[in-house]
Symmetry: C3
Subunit: 264 residues, 3 copies
C-alpha cells in the first residue's frame, strides 16, 4: 500500500499561502481546511516576504491577475525560492492572452517552481509560450499534453501535473497517472485551482515532491468519486466534496486510488 | 411551445467574459458552468481587448467598482461594441452613491449595451441618473419601474430587464413578463448578478436579444422553483439551484415557464 | 428570558456596510441576508463617505488588505465615527506580519471602534501591537486572551469579543461568556468574519453594544449547533448554517443560548 502522506498532513497542518484568484479564494481555503491544512491569503507588497516566511508552501495562481498582483506573484515566488518553501504555479488561462503568457514567463524567469499544475491546454500553452512559439488550441486531452509536460519538467527541473479525466504527473525522470475522478468535477469552477492548493499542502509535508503530488491528485480524485455518489448535480457535489476531503482516511485513500507509474 | 434556446446554449457552450463583483464571482462562474456555458473573469487592462476578442459575450457588473475597475468596464464595454459581442450592463447599487451614477453614465457614454438588467430601484435610479434628475427611493415594485424601463429601452435602443417577483423585459417595441421564481431568491446574495450572467450566455447564442433575455429569465425562475421544493432555507436553496440549472431540460423549461407578452 | 434583539433585527433589516476580505465576501453577505439584515460591500475611495452615510453599521476586516484597501478602511472608519454609526474592527491575522500590526494601529489611531472581534491569538497580538511589544504565539485559548481583551476594552472604551470554543465578550465594566457553538465551525473559512458581520447587524439595532454582541455571538453559536446536527462535514455544515440563521426564532435562541455573565 502506497503511503498517502495524509496522516502527516493532518498532524502538521501546514500553512499554505495562496496568491490565488478572486473566483476561487473561498473554495480553496475551505478545501485546505477540510483536508487538514491551514490557508492564508495575502497579496500586499509590504507583507509578502513576511507571510512567505511563516508559510509552509506557496501557491501562485494567475487566474485574475493584474499589474499589482503580477508584482505580488513575482515577490512571493522569489521569496519562496529564497526561503526554500515549495512553490506551485497554476498558469490559469495561459495561452488565452499575450498578457498571461508574459506573466508566466516573468514568473518562470524570477523563480523555479517545485510544481506546475494546469489542464492540458494550459500546459501546452505554457510550453509554447516559454519556447517562444505561439498558437494554442482550446481543448486538448491529457495525452496531447504529455510531451509538453515532459519538456517543461526537464526545462525547469520541476514536477508538472496535467489534470483531466486522467491526471498525469511527471518529473525529469518519473511519470505517474491517477485514474480517479468524476466528470462533474469539470462543471465546478476552480476545481483545478483547488487541486493546486491541495498539492501545495502535500508538498509542504513531504521531501518527495513527485510522490506528494501523486498523493494530492489521488486525494482529489477519490474525494470526487465519493462526492459524486451523493450528488445530483454541481451544487450538491461541491458540498459533498468538502465533506469527503474532511472524512477520507489515509487507508481508504490508499485502497481506492488508481495509480499507474513508471520511468519516463 | 416557445423555443428556449437551451439546447443551443449547451451545444455551443459560449464563453461569457464577466467583469463582475468580488462578492458573486464564484456563484456566477458556477451558474454559467451549470447551465452549460463557459465562464471567464478577467479585468487587467493589458488583456481586456484580447479577452473580449475570444469571448462570446461580455458582462459589466459594477457591484464592487473602484477607479481601476471602472477603467476596465469602459475598455471592455468599448471592445464589446467594436467586436460586435453582446454587452450586458448590471448597474448594481446605482442611485446609492453619486459615484455609481457617474460610473453608469460613463459606461453608457462609452458603449451601447445590448441589455441592461437590474432590480426596480436600480432601473429607476439609472433612468433618473441618466436624465440628470436625482433622488431615488430604496424599494420599488417592478410595476413602479415599468416606465423607466421603457424609457431606457428607447433611449439606448436596447433590452431592459427588471427582475423581481415578476420579471419585466422590454425592448423599444416589445414587452414580456416572466411569472416564475420564488421568494427565497431574494435571500441569496448575487441572485440578480447570476441572472445577468445567464442572460449574457443566452444572448451569445441567439440573434434575438429580446427572446434570449426572456428565455434566460424563465430559466432562472424555473430553476428557482425547482430548487425551492428541495430547500429549507437559503443555504440548501443555493445548492439545489445549481443542480436545477444543470438538470433542467429545454422541454421542462418550455412547459413550466409562465410568460405573458405583447407590444408596448 | 434574555432579549435576543432578533425580532428587531428582522423588522429593521439594517444595512451593514462591510469592507471585508475577498475570501469571505460571499459567505458574509449570505449570512447577513439569512439572519435578516442587508449587506453592502463597497471600498472605492470616491464613494466611501456616501455609502457609510446610508449604512446602519460598518465593518472593517483587514483579511486581504493592501495599500488601497488600508486607505479605504481608514476613510470608512473615520466616516463611521463622524456619522455615529457602530464600527466593528476584525483584525484578521494581526501579529502575523508587521504590516498587519501597522494597519491595525493606523485604524485605531484614526477611529474608535464600537467592537473589536477576533480569535484569541489576534486579540493578544492586537494588544501587544498596540502596546508596542512584540512576539505572538500562534495558538491560544480564549482564557489566555482574557486579560488582553480587558486591557483593550479599557484602552479603547469599546467592546472586545474573543471567539473560540467559548466566546468571551468584555466591556470596560462587564464580562459575559457564550458557551454555544460546534468544533466544525473552525473547519470553515471565514466563520469568524461572519461572526463579525452578524455582530455589526445586531449593533445596528441596539443601543446596548455589549448586549447586542452577546446576542450576536449566541446566535452564531446556536445556529452552529443546529447546523452540526444535520451535517457530515464542513461542506454540508455551511449550507445548514445559513438555513439555521434564516430559520431560528428569537424564542429558540433565548432558550438554547448558554450565557454566563457578571462584572469585571
Amino acid at each position: 500500500m502506497r503511503d498517502t502522506h495524509l496522516d502527516k498532513l493532518r498532524e502538521l497542518s501546514p500553512l499554505v499561502h495562496s496568491l490565488t484568484n478572486y473566483v476561487v479564494m473561498n473554495n480553496t481555503a475551505n478545501a485546505l481546511l477540510s483536508i487538514g491544512a491551514s490557508p492564508v491569503m495575502a497579496h500586499a507588497h509590504p507583507e509578502l516576504q513576511d507571510m512567505v516566511k511563516i508559510a509552509s508552501s506557496v501557491v501562485v495562481n494567475i487566474g485574475t491577475l493584474d499589474e499589482y498582483w503580477l508584482d505580488s506573484y513575482l515577490m512571493a515566488a522569489q521569496a519562496a525560492n529564497e526561503l526554500n518553501k515549495p512553490l506551485v504555479l497554476d498558469p490559469v488561462g495561459v495561452g488565452a492572452t499575450p498578457y498571461r503568457n508574459y506573466a508566466c514567463n516573468q514568473i518562470l524567469k524570477a523563480a523555479n517552481p517545485t510544481l506546475i499544475r494546469g489542464n492540458a491546454s494550459e500546459i501546452m500553452a505554457l510550453y509554447n509560450a516559454s519556447s517562444k512559439t505561439k498558437g494554442v488550441d482550446s481543448t486538448h486531452s491529457v495525452e496531447d499534453a504529455e510531451s509538453a509536460a515532459e519538456a517543461l519538467a526537464s526545462q525547469y527541473n520541476c514536477i508538472v501535473c496535467v489534470s483531466g479525466n486522467v491526471d498525469l504527473i511527471v518529473s525529469s525522470t518519473k511519470k505517474a497517472k491517477v485514474h480517479n475522478g468524476h466528470p462533474l468535477m469539470s462543471k465546478i469552477t476552480g476545481m483545478g485551482c483547488t487541486a493546486t492548493a491541495i498539492c501545495a499542502a502535500f508538498l509542504a509535508i513531504s521531501e518527495d515532491a513527485f510522490e506528494a503530488t501523486v498523493s494530492a491528485m489521488a486525494c482529489m480524485g477519490v474525494a470526487g468519486e465519493i462526492a459524486s455518489d451523493k450528488s445530483e448535480g454541481p451544487g450538491t457535489f461541491q458540498v459533498h466534496f468538502l465533506d469527503a476531503l474532511y472524512l477520507i482516511s489515509p487507508q481508504k485513500l490508499s485502497e481506492v486510488a488508481k495509480i499507474t507509474d513508471g520511468n519516463r
